[in-house]
Symmetry: C2
Subunit: 153 residues, 2 copies
DNA sequence: GCGCCCTCATTGCACCTGCAACGAGGACAG
DNA sequence: CTGTCCTCGTTGCAGGTGCAATGAGGGCGC
């Protein structure tokens, strides 16, 4: 009665493998961001979105970010508050719809991103080098997972 | 002076993509585990390791688990405490080296795993179906990332 | 205008986490 | 045996997190 359990190989379990890979790939960059700039990953994601004026304007609301990044609105809100305290972004009520909060990089924030983005780019290139000839197929598989799985059930 | 920033596409950034994919793939299963069994992901990982008697014995120490799973020892320790409180595992001092704590599934824990493991298996098969013909290449790329990156710098 | 229901963002709460510090125990040289 | 240094596991603390509740505001029918 001690062995009714089926074998199960955790190291072959895709969700687990993805979690470990995500953790490992984030770790190196995250440490740099934290030690050199005092920036966490949620904060970094917010900053990246503010660095690209996707729409006409250069400002974005909390829920724009929430929609584009896989991050809860409370997480976005708190990350934004920390960034505001640090002086990297500014919040302003939207003139048209006063429920919205428009976020925008300050000059200090722009300067920060001018340093951070090249680091991220270089790291991405390093990862692509490591993936070598498996890169395209790997990213294709990742695309399938990302496309297929809903994330607001 | 408003556009000195290089373009950067977050949705093409591999660490970000991995984080989102890991979150999405874990979410569905994690919710089931939580709602139906009251089990969190760290607790699940501990349980899985206790369900496979990798060595001769069916018991494992905290640091065995720490080494085999990408989890801090404090996380393992607290997950084990919760599992013990819930009655799924038992802790016992190792006879030979009294610093070690040997963890083992109780009967209740074995019964739990007999339910959980088939769910995980079925989910893995579903993911593999979604990946379809990209599966092999995708897993190969994941292997490269997992092999290359150190995780104890 | 008024009521109703919706959306946006924040916050309170309970919990989880990482990290450093700790105590207990083991290994080993002298 | 004693002292020193190591390992194992737990815990205190500060801070992050998810979730639900909240308050402010908007849209619309009447």
């Amino acid at each position: 009665m001690t062995r009714p359990l089926p074998d199960f190989d955790l190291s072959g379990f895709t969700p687990y493998r993805l979690a470990v890979a995500a953790e490992k790939t984030s770790e190196a960059l995250a440490r740099q961001y934290r030690e050199r700039f005092g920036i966490s990953i949620p904060e970094w994601r917010v900053l990246v979105h503010l660095a690209q004026p996707l729409d006409g304007r250069g400002t974005v609301s909390v829920r724009d970010i929430e929609a584009r990044v896989a991050m809860e609105k409370s997480k976005v809100s708190r990350a934004a508050s920390r960034l505001e305290t640090a002086g990297y972004i500014e919040k302003a009520a939207d003139a048209g719809d006063r429920r919205l909060v428009r976020l925008a990089l300050t000059d200090k924030g722009q300067a920060l991103m001018a340093e951070l983005l090249p680091l991220a780019r270089a790291y991405q290139e390093e990862l692509e080098r490591r993936l070598g000839d498996t890169l395209a197929d790997f990213e294709a598989g990742l695309d399938r997972l990302l496309d297929t799985l809903p994330h607001d059930p």
